[in-house]
Symmetry: C2
């Protein structure tokens, strides 16, 4: 967020920046807004008034803490989540979740549905049905739909280039969903990218500029933030950490066709097998077995920990992140094998970047991907609130 003073034509930028601050931080006192933006009090007052007119913030009330402070406490400005909303959907194998999300990331309604099969048409129908269900339940204005897909996505048009768990190759999912929901902005993104974005904006990675998010579920979902911006690459395909080659000799064949990808060594199937479960065991089954075990991790789980560390070392050497967030099943196993992971990581990482990295668990839990999908729509919507929110 950049604030520029003294130039009237830039007040749109300031309006957008102020609303974005409230969206990401929640209610704030005017004095805080003045300090954080560097704008003067009358400018902040005028911007808040404009946002009130647009119906997206309300002012008033004093928090308990301020009431006992010195002087006259300034008004609290609160983002209103009931008037302007976005939709976020998460497509998974055989099912989809959806949420209606208000300003400041408040989840207002949820819905969930099972799909008869994993074809792209069935999944597009399911998402469209869930959207209709939630739109019927709100009186707010709904501005768009962000959808998470566990695959390699062409951002430009939402084509899913490759989603091995769904069995999709080059499927025009964005187009199919858009055709079922005329008038709604639809954006398709990779699940790991969205998890990274959400943890960066609202979770464990707040305050870090260089962040890596790795979540082992069936395969490995991942996303990268570099210098405060999502790492996209030339076509938006960057950040596929699960397909780093860590064991090209002697490793297993990956669904992508290569041998020894990181996800064949640390992915959910591998974790399930290391716990003596079938490869397609559910997240809950894996967690139940993990909770029932005590003492030393098995040799197989130690090997997962070893390769987790090897891959993290490559990431540390390549990207020099300040924080790596371990989500999905990695979140479940990490506490039990943290020492082994660190030993293996430090054996392969250069000292200088290794000193700077913190390994962390996610803060947003199961909602990370949905909140990230919502944020994709919010970013477009909040770029120019006066234009997009005018009645």
């Amino acid at each position: 967020v950049q604030f520029i003073s003294g130039s009237p034509e830039l007040s749109r930028t300031n309006l957008a920046g102020l609303l974005r601050l409230l969206h990401l931080n929640g209610p704030m006192r005017r004095a805080q807004l003045t300090r954080l933006t560097g704008l003067n009090r009358s400018t902040v007052g005028a911007l808040v008034a404009e946002l009130e007119t647009l119906g997206v913030v309300e002012e008033g009330g004093f928090p308990a803490a301020a009431a006992v402070g010195r002087g006259r406490p300034s008004m609290i400005v609160r983002p209103r989540s009931e008037k302007v909303q976005v939709l976020a959907a998460e497509v998974m194998v055989g099912q989809a979740s959806i949420a209606l999300i208000g300003l400041s990331g408040t989840v207002i309604h949820r819905a969930h549905g099972r799909a008869a099969d994993n074809t792209v048409h069935t999944m597009a129908d399911l998402v469209a049905d869930l959207v209709a269900e939630l739109i019927a339940r709100t009186s707010g204005r709904v501005y768009g739909l962000g959808i998470s897909v566990p695959g390699v996505i062409r951002i430009a048009d939402g084509n899913v280039r490759f989603a091995p768990n769904l069995g999709w190759h080059d499927q025009p999912f964005g187009e199919l969903v858009s055709a079922r929901l005329p008038g709604l902005v639809v954006r398709i993104r990779n699940d790991g990218d969205l998890g990274a974005l959400a943890e960066y904006l609202r979770g464990a990675a707040r305050g870090y500029d260089d962040v890596v998010f790795v979540a082992g579920e069936t395969g490995v979902g991942s996303g990268v933030i570099v210098g405060g911006e999502p790492l996209l690459g030339a076509g938006g395909y960057a950040g596929e950490l699960g397909h780093m080659s860590v064991r090209e000799q002697g490793g297993r064949r990956c669904r992508c066709g290569a041998v020894g990808c990181w996800e064949t060594e640390i992915g959910g199937e591998c974790i399930a097998e290391a716990l003596g479960l079938p490869a397609d065991a559910s997240h809950d089954e894996v967690v139940a077995v993990l909770r029932s075990k005590d003492g030393q991790p098995s040799q197989q789980l130690a090997q997962v920990a070893h390769y987790l560390g090897v891959g993290l070392a490559s990431i540390v050497n390549l990207l020099n992140p300040g924080l790596i967030v371990l989500g999905g099943l990695l979140r479940e196993i990490y506490p039990a094998v943290a020492d082994a992971v660190r030993v293996s990581m430090l054996a392969s990482a250069l000292a200088a970047p290794a000193e700077q990295v913190t390994l962390s668990l996610p803060e947003l839990g199961g909602d990370a991907v949905l909140l990230g999908a919502a944020e994709v729509i919010w970013q477009e919507l909040l770029a120019d609130p006066a234009a997009t929110l005018a009645p």
Copy 2:
């Protein structure tokens, strides 16, 4: 480069942008400058006049091509390389090179020296001596010294955290050089990062926003450009592609302490051995042997090609670059093994990002690192030319 019109206080930004255009593209007609900047003709005229006053451009003459075109050709604006200059040095094992470089990247003078040993003090003395030699040979104003070191550099103060080939661990090289050259701005950077920057600004990677530069010399030097900006990471240590783990089981021990780093499989020592030379053979010796061979590459060279492809695949999956530049000894061997490299890369890379990547040789040859080091100083100097260049 961003140009903003209609706001007088932003003319400094426009002045900087115009000079940067000339610095990177060389002589241009006023009409071109008008088109590229989007500013109107009178504004461009005023900015050019200001740059003339500062002594950094000159106007006049018509190129042969313009003379036969339609209408009155506009004046040619040329950056002047004789008035404002920067120094660039490259520290190598047992030696250092230095160049005095003018606006538009013109090399004006060069010097080279051998070091009695590789200690940090000897090397700082050598660089200071070479600087004195070149400063004595110019009447221009010299604005700073960019130094390339083959190691992991803490950008903030030029501390060399780790430079295995020089045997340096946590050496305050920036401080030592600065102490010998009072009044001169000194910046220390990693050699691979500078090669990447130079090829991006002036070489094979012009026009690409997402670029990877990999140069096998003794080890592997590398640098990454993401979305048009150098990839730095939390502490400026990012981009150490040579220390990606590609063969953690069964690979060789790397000087960094890990096993199976990419540089143990594709680095200069490995290439020399694959050609039947001692590991410390010089670049020229390797090239001579390569030129003398015909027909099929040896099995050892085929293995280098294989691991080159495996590592490139990980890079493609992680970073989705538009261009990968292969420099140093990789430039020499790549033409002989290009097919094997591509086969191996495509076996491990995801189709979507693999379709978007081009493998390329560098254009700047041996000067890439020096030109990159100069560019680090130019970027500081050209950020506000009116302030830094005022007499």
